[in-house]
């Protein structure tokens, strides 16, 4: 394991992580829609979206700098950082959000009682609360598009990026049944799969040969709000000439 992996790392067989290469991201937003499709994210509608109740487990943030004509902007895709020391986890009174042995910041929907303490403690704004029954906005026959591998959430429940845990489980099961080790690149998350520019790379950080491990060692790497000490497993690679 690489030396920068902290000793707080979970002791599972894998440790899932992601690298976001900001020098490849074009802001095309394919990842955003791919996530909606894979994870049964609800449609909030125009009024609720404006009131901040839309669901985006991954979003493209755009940071403006300077005034015309010296305008600059940067795209940063932001999803749950699956922090090793996640501030959202210890505040949950019912253990609805917890850290899996494989390093996922996970949500157990049936435990969630909707205190929203986790959302309050989440420095990255990547948790979304279901203020209304989300399934209702899937007008018939839109429910046919729903992914049967993913729970449709109900009202009063918090939801967030799961690193496409359903894909992880399926790939792990397939490998176990075939009696082999899970290979790097055998599967990926919906956002990384949709990314034409290959800005998003998902994989196992315990495997030093995996693409994600190799990229995460880049000199360009940084993590969001590193000073908070949350130890995210999402590594960003700086854009520009760096």
């Amino acid at each position: 394991m690489a030396d920068w992996v902290s000793d707080k790392s979970p002791k599972g067989q894998h440790r899932w992580g992601m690298v976001v290469d900001l020098d490849r991201c074009t802001g095309c937003s394919a990842c955003v829609v791919a996530c909606h499709a894979e994870n049964n994210l609800a449609i909030a509608g125009p009024t609720d979206t404006d009131e901040g109740r839309s669901f985006d487990w991954i979003r493209i943030e755009r940071y403006w700098e300077g005034d015309f004509p010296d305008t600059k902007a940067h795209f940063v895709p932001i999803m749950c950082q699956h922090c090793e020391a996640a501030p959202c986890e210890p505040v949950c009174p019912v253990y609805a959000t917890y850290h899996t042995p494989e390093g996922l910041n996970s949500m157990v929907y049936v435990r969630c009682i909707g205190t929203r303490f986790c959302q309050n403690n989440d420095p990255y704004n990547v948790r979304f609360f279901n203020w209304f029954e989300p399934a209702l906005n899937f007008a018939d026959p839109l429910p046919n598009q729903l992914n049967p591998d993913v729970t449709v959430r109900s009202r009063g429940v918090m939801e967030k990026c799961s690193f496409c845990v359903q894909r992880i489980r399926r790939a792990e099961d397939d490998a176990r049944l075939a009696g082999r080790k899970l290979a790097d690149g055998e599967f990926t998350t919906a956002c990384a799969q949709s990314c034409s520019a290959r800005a998003l790379v998902f994989g196992d950080l315990t495997d030093s040969q995996s693409e994600v491990s190799r990229l995460a060692e880049s000199a360009r790497r940084f993590r969001l709000l590193e000073s908070l000490g949350t130890n995210p497993v999402v590594y960003y690679l700086k854009g520009g000439q760096a």
């Binding site: 802001g27 937003s29 499709a37 493209i60 943030e61 839109l142 598009q145």
Partner: protein, 740 residues
């Protein structure tokens, strides 16, 4: 005489034979009648290779089907267009498939004033056959430009059978100018292969090729490799545009130019020694761009090779589009990159040469068709995969022209304004439910034909347009020679057999079903196929250029002080994505606005007008007026305003209609509707050399109404002069606090 031993032997054999026979027959008969097809295992996904036909790019897709439902689309790995990626519109394909407002079956109406009502397929097809028979030669067919395969061929056969003019492809992308300029500089109209992964300097004029252009997935793939695909080389990107858009945001150098002056930068890059070239000082004066940035680009262009210049987007909307693109294309000649790695390579013809549709009709040709309609010379109009309202400004008065056509049939899958004007609606199956094929719009470095196969059964009583056309043509007395759509496409693809690429037709058919099509990466070596011709390379870059000259705008600058820049947002993709709620709700990556239209105004102009975010303004041109909500946009000069082409429809679906009575079930909140579209304002000005629509040639005036607009912002903005637009908590570094 049989002894005892023999008798026992024979009777034993006979007995065992009887028993064996009995066993066999019993086993072979034991077959449960509730057995499901092999690919229908509960919980197990099946993947079908296919092609996406939501836009003309021609990406290959994998359709993930679980228990007969298409639940996800992924890019087809190694497809030469998208290389496994897929754009937001392609991801929305399943929402297109299960859209709540899809036509459940055929509809017709007795007269133009009436509301359409359900009918049977038999009656609808009879009505179409009658319409065709009565029209004969006075038949016009409009086809959406995303139809890039043998579907066009069948429609052409239909037109031929009735001695009618060939079907017209209706394009929303403004490719006329690109093709016209390509002919002049490259000697061929097709969009060549831009070898982005191997180039070192990319100069993008006016376009955002990576998010809204002709094939965003392909150029994004190239961009990723261009930046970080090589160990030591990082490609450099320069963007020349009026609005600071998605491409400018990722560029190393952005040169802001006045509307329609992009060509002057290309002239400056050619240098004052070339005929038509100009000095950087003159270019700065013409474009209003900072001269040091132009000089910086000139320096880069002198030093860095290979270098590619690519034009499109904004440039296509002006009256000097072709001249500008010629100047841009000439840069590739000067750079000496034609036919070289990291440069501009010829586009290869697809392996099935007859599948490429003709170029899209120019706006001028479409206007000529409207005149024929007005003159009563069109007796029947077929709309296949095309909503003609998307391709015209409101000022073209398409509605009045359609009213003069006695019979209109629409093959729309979903309600649109074209279908609303039709006498009979024959809903086409989606690309997930039918046979079809596709070929890329742009050069990809390979010879590509992608096959579309029915991954699922038709969800509603829709039918593939090919099936309906074949049957109606038979009804009208013209047998086009094919039993049905499946037979038609199989027949077209059977011409592959002599290719010896995959011996035996049956196996080749099975192979293309499995792989999704034919992708030859060495297009120069196809036996018996049309060889891709080389580009017209002049070894001595003796480019002689006529200066593009100023663009002409509609509207008096005294009354209409602002340039209106219609934006081709990745949310709506030239109108092809407006009906999908995911795409409506997607935040525009630059403005962070969602659901419908808005107006982007620079913060300085907003101060002068006394407006801010959410304020409503009245935008007026010589052709119409529109109410829009203000979004403050730091990437625009003061005299230019940006309005997305949101493509709201008068009679569209619940998600893209101007007005809707839809109430969102979860919250019981009424949907405010998408509001009128910017096409209401646009002047019907024609780009003379290509006959294209100069959709950027409109000037407008803006008056605040004093009201608040129904605007949907995913992120609330703070004016950038006060604070950069950052989410509060990300901007502010928190102190480290102990966890757990």
């Amino acid at each position: 005489m049989m002894n005892r031993r023999e008798f026992l032997k024979i009777s034993g054999l006979a007995g065992s034979g009887f028993l064996l026979g009995a066993c066999e027959s019993r086993h072979s008969r034991l077959k449960s009648y509730v057995e499901r097809p092999a690919h229908l295992v509960p919980g197990e996904p099946t993947y079908f290779a296919s092609a996406c036909d939501l836009c003309p790019a021609g990406c290959g897709v994998m359709v993930r089907v679980v228990e007969g439902r298409a639940i996800k689309l992924e890019g087809l790995p190694d497809h030469p267009v998208n290389h496994g990626g897929l754009c937001p519109l392609g991801q929305g394909g399943v929402q297109h498939q299960y859209h709540p407002d899809r036509f459940r079956g055929p509809r017709w109406r007795a007269n133009r004033g009436a509301v359409s009502e359900e009918t049977s397929w038999e009656q609808a097809i009879n009505k179409l056959a009658d319409g065709l028979q009565q029209a004969q030669g006075a038949l016009a067919i409009l086809v959406g430009s995303q139809v890039r395969g043998h579907r066009y061929g069948l429609l052409a056969k239909l037109a031929q059978a009735f001695a009618a003019p060939a079907p017209l492809l209706v394009d929303h992308f403004g490719l006329e100018a690109v093709r016209a300029a390509n002919v002049v500089v490259f000697g061929r109209p097709e969009i060549p292969t831009y070898d982005l992964p191997n180039t070192q300097l990319l100069m993008v004029f006016g376009d955002d090729p990576f998010t809204t252009g002709m094939a965003p997935t392909h150029y994004s793939w190239g961009y990723g490799l261009f930046r970080r695909g090589r160990e030591t080389i990082r490609g450099q990107l320069a963007v020349i545009s009026t609005r600071f858009g998605e491409a400018a945001a990722i560029a190393d150098l952005w040169i802001p130019v006045k509307p329609g002056t992009h060509g002057a930068i290309a002239q400056a890059l050619l240098g004052p020694t070339v005929t038509g070239g100009i000095s950087t000082a003159l270019a700065a004066a013409l474009t209003g761009a900072p001269e040091e940035r132009i000089r910086a680009l000139v320096e880069k262009f002198k030093q860095i090779r290979p270098a590619i210049a690519l034009g499109g987007g904004e440039v296509l909307g002006y009256t000097n589009a072709v001249a500008t693109l010629i100047a841009v294309n000439s840069l590739n000649v000067v750079a000496g990159v034609l036919g070289r790695p990291g440069g501009v390579l010829p586009a290869a013809a697809p392996p099935l040469t007859d599948m490429v549709p003709p170029p899209p009709a120019s706006y001028r040709e479409l206007v000529a068709l409207l005149e024929r309609m007005h003159a009563g010379k069109v007796k029947a109009l077929l709309l296949v995969g095309s909503d003609p309202f998307m391709a015209f400004p409101a000022a073209a008065k398409l509605e009045e022209a359609l009213a003069r056509v006695p019979f209109i049939a629409s093959f729309a899958t979903l309600p649109d304004d074209g279908a609303a004007s039709a006498d009979v609606i024959l809903p086409d199956s989606t690309f997930l439910e039918r046979w079809g094929d596709s070929t890329p719009l742009i050069g990809t470095g390979a010879s590509v034909a992608t096959l579309m196969q029915p991954a699922i059964l038709p969800f509603f009583a829709s039918r593939a347009a090919e099936d309906v056309i074949l049957e109606a043509a038979r009804g009208a007395g013209h047998d086009l020679g094919y039993a049905n759509a499946a037979a038609y496409f199989k027949q077209q693809w059977s011409t592959l057999a002599p290719d010896k690429q995959v011996p035996g037709h049956q196996s080749s058919w099975k192979q293309v079903l499995r792989t999704g099509g034919i992708f030859h990466r060495t297009p120069g070596k196809l036996p018996g196929r049309q060889q891709p011709s080389t580009l017209a390379v002049s070894e001595t870059p003796a480019v002689s250029l006529t200066a593009p000259g100023p663009a002409i705008f509609s509207g008096d600058p005294a009354n209409r002080p602002f340039h209106l820049l219609p934006l081709r947002s990745l949310k709506y993709r030239q109108g092809l994505a407006a009906h999908l709620p995911w795409l409506q709700e997607l935040a525009d990556p630059m403005s962070a606005a969602a659901w419908g239209g808005w107006i982007e105004i620079s913060p300085q102009l907003a101060d002068k007008l006394g407006v801010t975010l959410y304020d409503e303004v009245r935008v007026e041109s010589d052709h119409g007026s529109l109410m829009l909500g203000v979004v403050l946009y730091p990437g625009l000069p003061e005299n230019v305003v940006g309005v997305p082409l949101a493509y709201s429809r008068k009679q569209g679906t619940r998600y893209d209609s101007v007005n809707t009575d839809y109430v969102w079930p979860a919250t019981q909140k009424a949907d405010p509707g998408r509001g009128a579209d910017v096409r209401t304002l646009l002047a019907p000005v024609i780009e003379e050399r290509s006959g294209g629509w100069a959709w950027g040639a409109t000037r407008v005036s803006i008056t605040p109404t004093g009201r608040k607009a129904k605007l949907t912002m995913v992120s609330k903005q703070i004016p950038p002069q006060e604070s950069p637009i950052l989410p509060h908590r990300i901007k502010q570094e928190f102190k480290v606090w102990p966890i757990g």
